[in-house]
Symmetry: D3
């Protein structure tokens, strides 16, 4: 289990069409359906990194910025950003297009999910580290530390005083 | 639109059975399906408060603490905690039971969603205020301010220095 | 198994949104989908009363009185009315609202389902009695006898002459 | 609209496989799913007879006699039995088979649904009469009168004293 | 296993309503959904002939000739045409009607699927022969040989020179 | 409309998890569900090339070579191979993996679908040409001619004698 893997090893692309049952009464994609797709896309990335069954541990704050209309094609991309023993943070980006009108919707949604790799009995199991290579990968890898501290603080399992990276970020935010 | 409404006016209870297609390969409920149910339950609470069509604006950090097995019954309860012009924060609690074995799973999941009320053209529209009455309602109402500041800070639309309630909370967390 | 339970122990509230795939070509909820929801809501009440796996034994005559349009929110409420050894009668009420227009549809649908509690081998198993407390609960409990007689008469397993409560009711109906 | 149609004109055969999401925790078909299929099968028969959009008006008492296991093939057959101005009674028979084991389950379920034909505005509209030809068709046609009286009595829209056919039947049942 | 069966033994009729989620942005049935229904209808015919679990081995070229609008009723009919040791060719015809407007769409789609009968371990197992009786059944039975040769040629498992029936057909086509 | 597009402009990657309702009684993916996914993946590629609404015109012979078990991840890749006025041939490759066991299933399925681009009235409309660049793209582009001739021959709209490329291929096959 000493093996390290690159970010590319966990990359997943998923494409979905927005069908009638995915939409609200304004004929726009419901937020809950998008989160459902994000969770599946992120779970597959976590599986690819760990070669294990994985379970969703948490999802970070997500903002839904623009309505995605019926008939749009939604492309989801995900990959591991950083690992912590048996858990992994996964980055997901979702972009929507209304293709027959050649219209790429400018703003996309992004999210961070955390998954835990488990054995067949459901117990957490150690996973390989991930090696960030590009600048974007390195930035996501560095930020993972601070996002994890925020998760622990919100769960009252860490004090802000002990969360150095989070504190630095918030002081400058 | 000066009318105020009580928290009770928006209370929603939703019950779902965990069916095979809702589960992962360990036969436990997938996180994404639970988020999908939370979004619907929260949207109905937001509709009941505003008597308007509503759209999901954001979801806060959610932790998934325990596996919920196939055949469980999940009860979701939601209501408005606080309003901000045309947006509302909704509190959702999800509890799971494996009823035929008389087993109430001890730990439940909770989440905060934000919804915006819109008119038929999709434009934000003002909504009534909510009046918290019980101690729990008042605590959720007070905390909504700080959670909103965190959302704005994470979205880089507010500085921590300007987020008094959030800062106080984090300093003491 | 001598334990008795109150009606409240089995109360279930379920909420569903009417989505496109639930509707007919007039954009109204299909009767079959509503019956499907009623069956799930009633099954959970029967599970809560018996703490057992339950199977649908029968459904009584249901009238569908008013069309329920796309986008409505349907609230289903169910509870046990009376038990007979291993079987239970469940009362279900379904009310629909078109919330964004503040319109509570006046008329709701009601139904009576009968469930049998079974062990893991699928064999009927004895269940606790139910104690009706309020006037409405007592009336439903009393009527259950007559409704059961009608089920047995329709199934040719009882003669009207032997069905005292049913006969009295029909003579005065 | 003076045209009469034969029973054959409305006959529908529908076949469904019992998939995992259709089953309860004993891996048997849920009663509500079977009712959903019955409603669709009956609605198509009502459409075929009336060449109109139809809405479910009521369903009569249904007994579920035997468990139908996962992987079974369910065959539903439906046709009109009798018409009443704008409404029709539909007979549905559902038979299940576990084909790979060559096992025809002996007992099948039957149900009677009532549908109303409507115009595009949702208003009831007159439909052709049906002419029963075989002995079975004639028996179902005759019984429809008594079943309709029972529906009206249960809905408190008719007195048993005025329901000659129902009274005769019950006196001899 | 020497038993022979008639074509009638495997006949299946399946009826589906075109619901919103089955349609594309022009409100017409998606080709993939129709293929999904064809596969289920054909699999049941193959099960009925072989009394075995069956798996899809191949599907022949299908043309989709006319759009089938939302709300249509699609009737699928299937039966075995010819057997080859453990595999069977199944013929499927799909006809669509827009019943409330009394409009039978003139052109229907047809397809040929091949299924293999397998034992519980998933291994191919011998099946009964089929005896074609009517002229149409005999013609479909004869053509099955040529269609099988085309499948083998396209899979590069046979040379056209060795495919006598296919060659004769193509030379005259 | 004189614009030409590269093959890359239409490339689509779609990822699906095999859930319980997608499987047969051996817990393997049903062929019809895979075809449904292929149709959606191909339709999106056709949309991306044409920037139009598209409808499925035909699917070529598909062989299903290996069982894909429950819990597998299926990756579908599609792109345009060649255009003919308003129609496009799309190539789709589907690969399956059982990731938690690090097992890439060796054999993948491939298919060719044909789509027609239509205007809002459903009438065929001219589309850009595609320029194959790599060797693989050029080979798929060349083969499209012969596959189209086979479609026309099977539909009895062309004689083999007039189908030069098909004839050459079959003579050497």
């Amino acid at each position: 289990m000493a093996k390290k893997k690159s970010v590319n090893d966990s990359k997943v692309i998923m494409t979905e069409m927005v069908l009638p049952n995915d939409t609200n009464t304004l004929d726009n994609l419901m937020g809950g359906r998008l989160m459902h797709w994000m969770d599946i896309c992120a779970a597959i990335a976590a599986q690819k990194h760990s070669n294990r069954t994985v379970v969703t541990a948490s999802v970070d704050n997500i903002s839904f910025r623009k309505a995605i209309p019926l008939g749009s094609v939604v492309t989801l991309e995900s990959h591991v950003t950083r690992t912590f023993n048996s858990s992994m943070e996964i980055y997901i980006k979702a972009t929507a297009e209304k293709i027959p009108f050649g219209k790429k919707l400018e703003i996309s949604n992004q999210a961070f999910f955390t998954f835990v790799a488990v054995d067949q009995g459901g117990h957490p199991i150690e996973i390989p580290d991930v090696i960030p290579e590009t600048d974007v990968e390195k930035e996501l890898n560095a930020g993972a530390l601070r996002r994890r501290q925020l998760r622990l603080v919100l769960a009252k399992r860490m004090k802000v005083a002990d969360a150095k990276e989070l504190k630095d970020y918030l002081d400058n935010a």
